[in-house]
């Protein structure tokens, strides 16, 4: 008997459950394998869609579906909050006091925002002049605000890295430029992008390209700004080293943390609540039968849905190997693929891994494309919009995307020489 328990039924947990259900179809049928998924609620959010909600491109209702429906028949779904993992007992304790035993545990509990960790952010002005768009409620409220906002100083601030989808705040800036231009009021809006990083993004070539785009779109870039406190009434965002940025409307990307139960579980997580995980096998460093996937893992790549998808291919194999008593394969290379919406029906595409930063070129086929890396095109924008359909119909059921493998490919990429 193999009991597989998955904590979290978001992007990664759902993909994993459906892949393992197919992999162990016989075992599930004859009762020698069980797959149980736990989540605290029944609202599966297509999170990439949240970016479009504030601008009225998607409705908040367009981006949510029930969780259980995304899981194939034969997968058990338990709706309960996870209290903690007991690695020594190989048990998970749930909020209702019950315990689940496992032979293999997959932690897929993601990351959540903690706006209350920044002094003043959830104080006076929260929901009036200060917003976030990383939750359905937040994105909807911001959409209502933007619909009637008369203009002024719009400040987009990343409180601290890491955040999920590190390009989303940039996309927000690009779309804001487009949105206000469409409304004929761009000259009444001043947009500032305030980041703790020393440039627009983390990777050098990308930072250059994205930095130029910000300039083109007249977005002011404020770097190395570590937000310490916010005063919603005075409209001031202040850094720990006493720099101040005034705002009329603040769009914050708050501090991110792992699930609380990860911190409560002996030896499982780091100080953020992310699971300490082997970079290449996705086995946790806590116990051999515990694995982590998606935003919950502390691996040094972007926290993105595409990462969860690529990791799932590797993790499915490794779990089969683990149960068969075979050695794991260190096959995950940090592959990330993300579309960056730049406004005006264009998007650019990034593809990178642990060792290779995003490069220009064509994707997924060399010279043919049809998508272009690191360049804003209409084809990429269509790719981004098609992603919603792909998400529910190809990714969640646990299928592979044709021509896009778990490991990054150098086909079509142009190496860039850089001064270091």
């Amino acid at each position: 008997m193999s009991r597989i328990v998955i904590l979290g039924a978001g992007t990664a947990g759902t993909i994993m459950a459906n892949r393992l259900r197919r992999r162990f179809a016989d075992g599930v049928k004859d009762g020698t394998t069980s797959i149980t998924v736990v989540d605290q609620d029944d609202v599966h959010v297509y999170q990439p869609g949240l970016l479009f909600v504030p601008f009225g491109i998607y409705d908040a209702d367009d981006v949510v579906r029930p969780r259980g429906k995304q899981l194939h028949d034969g997968i058990g779904y338990v709706q309960a909050a996870v209290e903690r993992v007991l690695p020594a007992e190989r048990e998970v304790e749930l909020g209702n006091g019950t315990r689940l035993s496992y032979d293999v545990l997959i932690v897929a509990s993601g990351t959540r925002i903690a706006p209350e960790e920044t002094d003043g952010l959830t104080g006076p002005g929260w929901g009036e002049t200060m917003f976030e768009f990383y939750t359905v409620e937040g994105a909807r409220a911001l959409g209502e605000k933007l619909a009637t906002w008369p203009g002024g100083r719009l400040v987009i601030n990343i409180v601290e890295m890491p955040i999920k989808c590190p390009v989303a705040p940039l996309e927000f800036a690009f779309l804001a430029d487009w949105f206000f231009a469409q409304k004929g009021m761009r000259d009444r809006v001043q947009i500032s992008y305030v980041t703790p990083l020393d440039g627009a993004f983390t990777k050098p070539v990308c930072t250059q390209v994205l930095g130029h785009l910000l300039e083109d779109k007249r977005v002011e870039l404020v770097t190395e700004f570590n937000a310490g406190r916010v005063d919603g009434e005075a409209g001031i965002l202040a850094s720990w080293d006493e720099r101040e940025v005034p705002f009329d409307l603040l769009v914050s990307v708050p501090l991110h943390q792992g699930a609380e139960f990860v911190k409560r579980s002996e030896g499982l997580g780091d100080d953020y609540g992310f699971v300490r995980t082997d970079l290449h096998t996705l086995q946790s460093r806590c116990a051999p039968e515990i694995f982590a996937i998606g935003d919950a893992a502390d691996v040094p790549t972007s926290k993105a849905g595409s990462v969860a998808h690529f990791e799932a291919e590797v993790l499915e194999d490794n779990i089969a190997r683990f149960l068969a008593g075979e050695p794991l394969v260190p096959a995950y290379d940090g592959h990330t693929n993300c579309f960056v919406e730049t406004g005006y029906d264009k998007a650019l595409l990034l593809d990178f891994n642990y060792d290779t930063e995003p490069l220009p070129g064509k994707f997924p086929f060399a010279t043919i494309g049809p998508m272009k890396l690191l360049e804003a095109t209409y084809a990429n924008h269509l790719g981004k919009l098609a992603f919603k359909w792909l998400y529910w119909n190809v990714l969640m059921p646990g299928h592979d995307i044709p021509a896009v493998g778990a490991q990054m490919s150098m086909a079509g990429k142009q190496p860039v020489l850089q001064d270091s």
């Binding site: 890295m161 570590n226 310490g228 080293d241 780091d270 992310f274 460093r285 502390d298």
Partner: protein
């Protein structure tokens, strides 16, 4: 993996100069790394660097800036004065532990 000679000792470091083997560290190494970063170590600096290092040795992971602010005895505001721009990252480097994952 590259090596680098700091304070007369040959050390294993990553591309950004973070020590890969904390056991190779000595006070003199910490002092020398700080000097390279333009930081002159005071008792307050040492308090943070040692706290950072000890937490890593005890738990296998480095504390975040928020934990440093709450538990090291030096608040976040002062942390940014002592280690401008990146207290957690700089204290980890000086304290001779690998780069905290959260800094990536």
């Amino acid at each position: 993996m590259t090596t680098s000679t700091i304070a007369g000792i040959e050390l294993e470091v990553d591309a950004e100069g973070f020590l890969q083997k904390p056991e190779q560290w000595t006070d003199a190494v910490g002092e020398a790394i700080a000097a390279e970063l333009g930081i002159e170590m005071t008792d307050r600096h040492w308090q943070v660097a040692r706290f950072m290092r000890q937490r890593f040795l005890d738990n296998g992971t480095a504390p975040t800036i928020r934990t440093l602010g709450k538990e090291s005895g030096v608040d976040v505001k002062e942390l940014y004065k002592l280690f401008p721009k990146g207290p957690a990252k700089l204290a980890a480097k000086i304290g001779g532990i690998p780069k905290p994952r959260g800094c990536i």
